[in-house]
Assembly symmetry: D2
Amino acid sequence: MKSIRDSVHGDLHLEEFEVRLTDTPEIQRLRRIKQLGFTYLVYPGANHSRFEHSIGTMYLASRLARNLQLDEDTHTLVRSCALLHDAGHGPFSHVSERVLDSSHEELTSKLIKESQLGDILSEKFSVKEVLKVINGEGPLGQIISGELDVDRMDYLLRDSHYTGVAYGVIDVERLIYNMKLDDGILLLQSKGVQAAESMLLARYFMYPSVYQHHTTRIVNSMFRRCLGKLLEKKVINEHEIYRYDDTDIISLARSEEGYIQDIMGRLDTRQLYKRVYSLKFDDIDNPKRIFQMSDLTIQKVEEEIAGDLGVDKDFILVDVPEYPIFHEMSTPVSLNGDTVMLGDISNLVMALKDVRFNHADLCIYLPEEYADSASKLNFIDYLNL
Amino acid sequence: MKSIRDSVHGDLHLEEFEVRLTDTPEIQRLRRIKQLGFTYLVYPGANHSRFEHSIGTMYLASRLARNLQLDEDTHTLVRSCALLHDAGHGPFSHVSERVLDSSHEELTSKLIKESQLGDILSEKFSVKEVLKVINGEGPLGQIISGELDVDRMDYLLRDSHYTGVAYGVIDVERLIYNMKLDDGILLLQSKGVQAAESMLLARYFMYPSVYQHHTTRIVNSMFRRCLGKLLEKKVINEHEIYRYDDTDIISLARSEEGYIQDIMGRLDTRQLYKRVYSLKFDDIDNPKRIFQMSDLTIQKVEEEIAGDLGVDKDFILVDVPEYPIFHEMSTPVSLNGDTVMLGDISNLVMALKDVRFNHADLCIYLPEEYADSASKLNFIDYLNL
Amino acid sequence: MKSIRDSVHGDLHLEEFEVRLTDTPEIQRLRRIKQLGFTYLVYPGANHSRFEHSIGTMYLASRLARNLQLDEDTHTLVRSCALLHDAGHGPFSHVSERVLDSSHEELTSKLIKESQLGDILSEKFSVKEVLKVINGEGPLGQIISGELDVDRMDYLLRDSHYTGVAYGVIDVERLIYNMKLDDGILLLQSKGVQAAESMLLARYFMYPSVYQHHTTRIVNSMFRRCLGKLLEKKVINEHEIYRYDDTDIISLARSEEGYIQDIMGRLDTRQLYKRVYSLKFDDIDNPKRIFQMSDLTIQKVEEEIAGDLGVDKDFILVDVPEYPIFHEMSTPVSLNGDTVMLGDISNLVMALKDVRFNHADLCIYLPEEYADSASKLNFIDYLNL
Amino acid sequence: MKSIRDSVHGDLHLEEFEVRLTDTPEIQRLRRIKQLGFTYLVYPGANHSRFEHSIGTMYLASRLARNLQLDEDTHTLVRSCALLHDAGHGPFSHVSERVLDSSHEELTSKLIKESQLGDILSEKFSVKEVLKVINGEGPLGQIISGELDVDRMDYLLRDSHYTGVAYGVIDVERLIYNMKLDDGILLLQSKGVQAAESMLLARYFMYPSVYQHHTTRIVNSMFRRCLGKLLEKKVINEHEIYRYDDTDIISLARSEEGYIQDIMGRLDTRQLYKRVYSLKFDDIDNPKRIFQMSDLTIQKVEEEIAGDLGVDKDFILVDVPEYPIFHEMSTPVSLNGDTVMLGDISNLVMALKDVRFNHADLCIYLPEEYADSASKLNFIDYLNL
């Protein structure tokens, strides 16, 4: 047994098997991946790593498993899956994901299969079984990656602790205590509905404050363009993105010349691109079209604007907002013997269905030195929406 | 006015002048310097940066300045000095300091003079004045770098928040409220004695738990050897150490071959050297001699052990403990009209004078693969103590 | 200057004038009035007093006043009003209010006028001016008792701290920082909208969890009946209810015989009445009629049920829910130069308009020993809704 | 199973047997006994009850029992004892204890035997066994009432939470995790020594700040005199002191005339006696004599002073400080196979042996109106020390 002091949950205890998993280079790499990418340029405390989040998720998975009275082997399975669930994340976590062809779940599966993680796991479980759980299949999968999973609980608490934004403080105890396994389905008991509503709202409030804070979006867009260029030039091997850490990417970018070096230099010195345009959802009909803009379309828009401004096309960043997914809405709830969906019985959640798009807007960023000339453009014309 | 959300103190407000100082590459670099170096290998949450600490110190300096009723210009001076006080820190903060010839205070002075920081400052103050305050001279210097300074208050609170070790939680309000300027000397009022005792003990408890945790000492020794080698090979320019960030050093080390690459690889994968020997203070006469061991002596000991083990001398790390300095003991206290020293009126502080050496021990580390052969050696014989 | 350590806000500082107000028996009495009445029978930590809340409100008022850059006299006026705003509360705070003919605001005005509080105040201000502010008139009144007032901020934070229910943790800094006085109106800046939404939701979640928790409602109903009887028998002088503290009422009730002694004994030993009926809003048409049921109607219902059960009518408690008022919805917000209402621009707040009735239900309670016989009754028939 | 939300530890879960114990009038009475007596006149948040502390202690006992891997029955026994350990406390907890002939442990034993608590307990255990544990006998007794017991851990955390004084924040996890049962003795593992030192210091700092704060001592002395008078007049039955709650005593005192009513009125309105004399330990030889002053001696001193001042003897309160007991010093520690005492291996604890008397002083209080005349007296002459 080994114990690790976590700043959010206190002392976490690892069994020998878990220590072996943790001690692999694949899991240790997560110490060098920032959980919130470049958000530390907005919230200076947001330097926490995916490693902390992984062991924190393992801890919550363990509490939920105990509450569900899982047998010891299943308990260990759930803990191991929680520990590994993010192993495939590329540098800077989700920020890099949008540039890659594979999701972090796919990459995690690939990494586990080809690394010693698979070997260690197969001493106790079939790797296939593990991957199913990590990918959210079956009742155990619901614990790690379901509508109301421990992954989300941990990151809300953790991101609050490190950013200093209190919105993410949720009632984990009430949530975990009110989950039951029923006929192979993970159900929320009706007594936990309020805690679930509150968690949904916590996440909703974290969006504009942290995850989609307007400056966070600028730095993320800048970094994504930088990473895209590195991939394009094959400086980085996309298929092994889970071998790199944040340091690798930054130092590779610094060693490049031209555009890549320039944009990394701006990130280093926090000389950020400026937002020159914001298209709010209220401003157009059928605004959800925005989410469907293809990469090709976006690229074309960028090229046109760049052409008219007389600058390189990579200086124009058209930032389509992330679709605000709230799987929690479909959490199955046990209510008077029936199973219903949270979104169907909670008027507050119902309201959130629309409200969540409130803060979404399409933005255009470019270097400060071109902001003046850009102010003469009529951006809506380029968008063809 | 700009506001920054700090995870420890809440919203911090910056005036335009301070924003300009903060926006320099010199201060932005501090975002990429970990406050506690490689301690994140022991406490996974300890990823916080020297940037956060700098603005946190500015905040506390501001509260103290307001309590002392300083005029507006002096207030700004104190704030600026607090913001800049750590600007010269090398990568990984204090860990690198022991390898360098200059202290971080000297480097800070040099950096301010030769960078745009000096230019901005000189719009309002003489740079000389600023450097005096940063170096702890005069009553204003006492605020930033004195016996009971805001620098220490901030790092205790901050290191507690991020490591999850509660010992550093101190009563900042009571401390600040009980400081008074009297005839150019910053005095603690007697009502604040207990808060000061408690802060001293907080720091004392943080030593073995965090700052000198036995694993922290191993990783720090490993990194220092690595950095020493980089300096020796002139891969890094010692005189401009304040131009590098953590990422620079790590990627430079990774690009090297042989020993440097090896030891950085071990840090990356957390395959740490093992402690094969610990000499406790109780085990020898006049133990304080240990602190006086010269670098040359240490090197000789390492060489001899290496020779007998038949390994390269750099695989042997003799780690002399840091002398536990507690300047707080000499805090001047105003007591019934007299000025006395905290250490003279507090029996608890008096007791701490000896107690602080309790946890100090000289240690020897080497790679795990040599630990077995090393166990046959009689280390005390090499030390000549 | 005097300082008081508050468990929520830390050290609070009082000027000499405020110390004199605080030292009156009228304000000291508030130490002996529980902020949440009998809620401590549900949340054992909810023993906090209206005194703490009063000085906490004064502290927040002070921060807001400083942010609004009020001059020193006005600042003191606001602080004094915050300190006194609840002075007229009867024992057990709001629980008693529903039984009385006067609101606690009216009683506060009366008490200030007839006690030494008025004398002290009139050294600096006109009492009329003070009462206007306390009653929410004018821009200063908005600070203490407006749509988004410091009273509410304090009680949410405080009730969270003492009950252990985290929902009430709100972003006071962001709220206060985003309030501005504009042409005599206290406006929320648009940057603070999210913090206001979040506060509204915090309060919404506190309702079913704490303020209208189903057991809280039972104990409150029991106590109100007990108090009603004491008033009826003129054991207590309603017109001087602000002279009594919690202890007075309890010991007066214990000294009585019959029903009063019985029900107080049940509260003392936590042998609570049982809920035998709950009419949810969804169960009837036009449910808001419930809020309009007159005391006489309720009494008649109770009598009829008691008659059919063959018990004394005071054993039947028909509990009409409190109308969930959310004045925050009409908070004036400054948005692009216009002034709009929070409820008009926030879809989330709009949603809350209906959602807030979700948890409201009409309940019927009676002693456990009659619960069995009561289960045969068809309660809806008695209600004539 | 029932769950209770505690503001310090979160959700606590009670088994059916424990619910029955909790639902007795004897345990419910503890909701109406303030944990820190009249300390709320100094720290306005200190209104917490002995009930909260009892269930909090049960929770910590449970965590320790689980760590010690006790079997289920023994676990329940330990939990029940923790829940009941303070059942015999008189009103206002420890404040009343000094006036009574029996300790609260003796009263607890008596109460359990003569009430239904004994009947319920004897369904599962022998009452004798329970009393042994509550009184600290045997290894289980050490959990509840030993050198390093869960009672102390809970009250330090709880008193910190409610007073806002951070000193009591201790590392409960580390303490509990490092306790082991060895041959029937509860031992601290050497890895927990620092946490134990820190807890000892936490308690040490809480003394002058809270438990023996100079104003706390005044209000406690006032109340003790009041209670003494009530006992003397047989208004209260000393042998059944555990039948009364705080409200009973206050209302009984208010109904009295003369001295008793006067002093209770002063407590109600916080018109406290003034300290006119303080004899510090440094001022006399062999100062520990002070602790040995008999009640008779004290009474004589009070009479003589009263005589010379021409006032009733009850207006003079000579307050001998409490002997600062730190049983934690004798905590048995397992160190390299041996069992040693904490005080013998920790220099810090050794230092505390003397230091703890630093804040102790003998004080004399009397009503403000006599303070002037009293200032002419030479108090040391009356003391015969």
